[in-house]
């Protein structure tokens, strides 16, 4: 469970990336993510290329993401450069798509969705460079009115609907594990 120790945890990780009046609500308990996923009719998980660079104690971030996707049966889009990492691990249903493309589609109310089930109502993002996630989430915040977004990276992402605060790797890992086991 995340403890909020200082106000700085809810400032943007890159200090100049101040957003505006509408800022992300804090995920200060992993159960919030569980509830959001469970309540969602058509969620989607969007994975940035850093998922194949970040090492955690139980493997690479991409390993955690696969566990998460499997536990919640989430459709997953990843940056094309890491789709091979998923396939190599036996996660064949990965769809490689540039992040700008998936974000652009999510702003289109008429898009059939990744699984042809219509508009997605929840997008979970993880594995992005901070400023990349920041900008993509900004686009979604302004132009996907029916979509809730959740940032699962270890930084406060103000443009998401929900975000972790700035946390340490250990805290992050603990939270990811809690979410995965909560879903399973």
């Amino acid at each position: 469970m995340v403890k909020m120790s200082t106000a700085r945890q809810t400032e943007p990780w890159q200090s100049a990336e101040v957003p505006g009046p509408k800022k992300a609500l804090l995920i200060n308990d992993p159960r919030i993510v569980l509830a959001l996923i469970k309540r969602s009719k058509n969620p989607i998980l969007i994975v940035g290329h850093r998922a194949a660079e970040i090492e955690l104690s139980g493997g690479q971030l991409v390993d955690y993401i696969i566990r998460l996707a499997e536990a919640a049966n989430l459709p997953v889009v990843s940056s094309p450069s890491i789709q091979g990492e998923f396939i190599r691990r036996g996660f064949k249903r990965i769809i490689g798509m540039p992040v700008v493309d998936i974000a652009n589609r999510l702003t289109d109310a008429g898009w059939a969705g990744l699984n042809n089930k219509g508009q997605h109502d929840l997008a979970l993002l993880i594995g992005f460079k901070y400023y990349v996630g920041w900008l993509i989430l900004s686009g979604l915040k302004h132009f996907s009115p029916n979509l809730k977004t959740v940032s699962l990276d270890m930084y406060y992402q103000p443009h998401a609907s929900w975000s972790f605060p700035n946390i340490t790797r250990e805290e992050w890992e603990k939270n990811l594990n809690a979410i995965i086991s909560g879903l399973g």
Binding site: Q14, N104, H142
Partner: protein, 790 residues
């Protein structure tokens, strides 16, 4: 004849067209006048849009924007541009003036592009007026002797005039300035409400920018004796390690070459050349080596601080654009005087243009003045050289870099607050690297060097003012000394004969594409990525073109034999070449090459015929721009000029901060129909090219996208098979899979690469693919049944 006259004439001409039908006498008079005013020996019929106004190409823009829709990523939820504000524009809110978020974002993009276009136009005016002052209005233009007949393809295309002399270029400036004023006016509160109108104006700003680039570069090529479209332009040295610090060193920074050229002249005229090092940063460095290849290039824009702090430069001469706004402060730390030479970059210095040279030198050498503003390039040059000679023995290369003990001491004091990292654009783990330095081991700090863009934001953020960028530079000292590479001097234009020989293979698709690496050095992971991409595509026998900081980054890389890419690959505009065209303004030759393919190879009419040529390029010329480290407003304007011409641009992840992409939707078949000019039928051609402006997260993603964006509806089956094989091969290599959209790019079975036949056919079957015809593609109904060869 002044520009006012010409423009009025143009306007009158168009106004009077109605009269022509009823009054043959007027018609005759006008024809005579056209001949006299805009190109006596130019028989080419004038197209529909000479000197286009801000709305003349709006329909073309809307065609592009219909297919490549803007996707905005606001950088701020607010607008604060007038005192009604701040206004919160989040979601579907509107500001007090009624503007919504898409309008505001596109307005900001337009502002950026106006800044860029104004900067290049002001640069062009300064340069052209200076050169006219020196060489006269009648100085003929010559960008490549007999090898280049189409000397100014962009100007011919946009303005419908054929400039012959420096004076003719000056006349064009008036048109550019007028358009920029209009564009800027459109950003005022209460002008425009549709984001698409703002976006159309963004394209207009880009087109205007390209004319400015072209006239600036052809003026300096013609008057200053730069290489004239020479594929074998000489090699020169680049890198921090190439500067001979035993000599007095003059550093020139910026983009506008007259002061730097005057320094070379002064040294030559006074027999001093061998005794003083002339080194440059950014585009002035490109241009001073085009003027004299013995000058040396330190590196791209992000090398400013590291070189200044090294203390090697004895005098710093700045002109304009992309120069750090703390140059004077940094120069004072190394006791080097600064000479500012541009009225758009006076850096707070007293204007000494009217003072006597020796008096200025005395003040600079004694240190009684930290610098001087000298707006006369020749005088600035004389002051720079005299000062360098006198001050070098006094300064003894005084540097502002720390010793290892300072780094260790700093590490001890570090509060571990992470403010440095949180300020760093590339999120570099500075705190951790510093912690490792506690025991005197600076390797971790040194490892940050390659990815550091030299911005010093970490230093500004540090609560105890540690000079962290300097710590990194100190740690990487050895690397810096070894930074010695070769770059081919900017060659300028592409020859007509080169265009003739590659025109057919490019348009048919047999040369798989032209890839242009352009723009600034705000790289996500160092300049090495640009070099890697350039080499990959040159090896694949694409035509690789480069300019500006990107051209420098390509040079700063060695193969196993120790050769830099410019040594390993030829400088020809042909398959497998790596062509450095030159500085930012030389980007004109990249757009110019695409235009010349349409005009020289395909014989399309060029004069004032923008829409048709852009349509040709979009549908037939497989060219892609890659601005991996694009940072500036100028880069935004340059990119916009490419978009309007139908050339897609890929940026690195920092390019997302331009806050909007222009993205196609390959999943919407209805977006990808063109007219078959032979029959007028609408034909599905697949998403080629898929995007107009796109940011990639990684270099691998960029490379696959480069290959994909080179596909064009007009590719022959053989050409398409070649392009597809590169796309598939790169996709497999970097992503580990077959692309899932191959079927969208196969029109007939003959498009399928032979060696990949089984795999591709399997996908076609799975996707229910159907054969299609290959049309003579155009988006312009008026071109139907008017087929011109090519």
């Amino acid at each position: 004849m002044g520009i006012g006259f010409k423009l009025d004439f143009e306007k009158n001409l168009r106004l009077r067209i109605g009269e022509i039908k009823s009054d043959i006498g007027v018609l005759k008079n006008i024809e005579v006048s056209i001949g006299k005013v805009i190109g006596e020996e130019w028989a080419e019929e004038i197209g529909p849009t000479p000197f286009p106004s801000i709305v003349d190409l709006r329909e073309w823009d809307f065609k592009l924007l219909q297919r490549y829709k803007p996707f905005y990523m606001p950088f701020c939820d607010l607008c604060c541009l007038c005192t009604f504000g701040k206004c919160d524009l989040t979601g579907d809110k509107r500001g007090a003036c009624g503007l919504n978020m898409t309008g505001q974002q596109s307005r900001i993009v337009l502002l950026a592009c106006c800044i860029g276009a104004a900067t290049h136009t002001s640069h062009a005016r300064h340069l052209i007026e200076h050169l006219i002052g020196k060489f006269g209005r009648d100085r003929p233009l010559d960008v490549g002797g007999l090898n280049v007949e189409v000397e100014a393809p962009i100007t011919r295309l946009v303005c419908g005039v054929k400039p012959r002399t420096l004076g003719d270029l000056e006349d064009i400036l008036g048109y550019l300035e007028r358009e920029i004023v209009r564009l800027l006016a459109a950003t005022h509160t209460g002008q425009e409400e549709s984001n698409l109108d703002f976006e159309s104006k963004v394209f207009h700003a880009g087109m205007i920018d390209h004319v400015a680039l072209e006239i600036a570069d052809i003026a300096q090529i013609s008057a200053l004796g730069f290489p004239k479209a020479d594929p074998e332009a000489p090699l020169t040295e680049i890198g921090l390690g190439v500067v001979d610090s035993t000599k007095p060193v003059i550093l020139v920074i910026g983009h506008n070459v007259p002061p730097a050229a005057a320094i070379v002249d002064y040294l030559m005229d006074n027999g001093l050349y061998g005794g003083v090092e002339v080194t440059g940063l950014c585009c002035t460095a490109h241009d001073v080596t085009r003027y004299n290849p013995k000058a040396k290039i330190v590196g791209p824009i992000s090398w400013q601080l590291r070189f200044i702090r090294s203390g090697v430069a004895d005098v710093i001469v700045v002109d304009e654009q992309c120069i750090r706004a703390d140059t004077l402060i940094e120069a004072q730390k190394i006791r080097a005087p600064v000479i500012a030479t541009s009225d758009v970059n006076c850096i707070g210095l007293p204007n000494r243009t009217g003072d006597e040279v020796n008096k200025i030198v005395e003040d600079l050498v004694s240190g009684s003045q930290p610098g001087a503003l000298i707006l006369d390039p020749a005088k600035a040059a004389e002051v720079a050289v005299k000062t360098a000679l006198l001050i070098a023995p006094k300064r003894m290369k005084f540097k502002s870099l720390p010793d290892t003990s300072d780094v260790v001491e700093g590490a001890k004091n570090c509060r571990k607050c992470d403010d440095c990292r949180r300020a760093c654009p590339n999120d570099l783990p500075i705190k951790e690297a510093l912690a490792q330095a506690l025991n005197g081991n600076l390797d971790a700090l040194a490892s940050l060097y390659d990815e550091c863009v030299g911005c010093a934001r970490c230093e500004s953020a540090c609560p105890i003012n540690l000079p962290l960028h300097s710590f990194i530079i100190k740690a990487a000292e050895k690397k810096l000394k070894e930074e010695k590479y070769k770059i081919r001097v900017g060659r300028g234009a592409i020859q007509d004969v080169e265009i003739r020989s590659v025109g057919s293979p490019i348009v048919l698709g047999e040369i798989p594409g032209v890839v242009a690496f352009v723009g600034c050095a705000n790289y996500p992971r160092g300049g090495g990525e640009v070099a890697e991409m350039a080499v990959e595509f040159a090896k694949r026998r694409y035509i690789v073109v480069a300019s500006g900081c990107a051209a420098m980054s390509i040079a700063m890389h060695k193969d196993e034999e120790g050769k830099s890419p410019y040594e390993a690959f030829p400088g020809v505009f042909d398959a497998g070449g790596i062509v450095n065209v030159g500085s930012c303004v030389s980007n004109a030759h990249i757009a110019g090459a695409a235009i010349k393919i349409a005009s020289i190879f395909a014989r399309r009419r060029l004069r004032g015929n923008y829409e048709e040529i852009a349509d040709y390029i979009l549908n037939r010329v497989g060219a892609v721009g890659v601005a991996w480290g694009a940072m500036s407003q100028k880069a935004a304007a340059i990119a916009s000029g490419f978009w309007r011409l139908g050339i897609p641009v890929i940026v690195g992840p920092h390019g997302l901060k331009y806050r909007r992409m222009l993205l196609g939707r390959k999943d919407k078949p209805e977006d990808w129909y063109v007219y078959d000019a032979r029959t007028g039928e609408k034909v599905y051609v697949g998403p080629a090219p898929e995007h107009l402006f796109y940011a990639a997260e990684t270099k691998e993603e960029a490379m696959v996208m480069i290959a994909k964006l080179c596909m064009r509806p007009n590719d022959t089956t053989r050409g398409r098979a070649i392009k597809l094989s590169h796309y598939i091969d790169l996709h497999k290599r970097f992503f580990g899979t077959m692309p899932d959209d191959v079927h969208l790019f196969v029109r007939t079975l003959a498009d399928v690469p032979l060696t990949m036949r089984d795999e591709v056919i399997k996908i076609l079957e799975e996707k229910g693919w159907k054969e299609n015809i290959i049309p003579d593609p155009t988006l312009l109904p008026r071109l139907v049944r008017r087929r011109v060869s090519g």
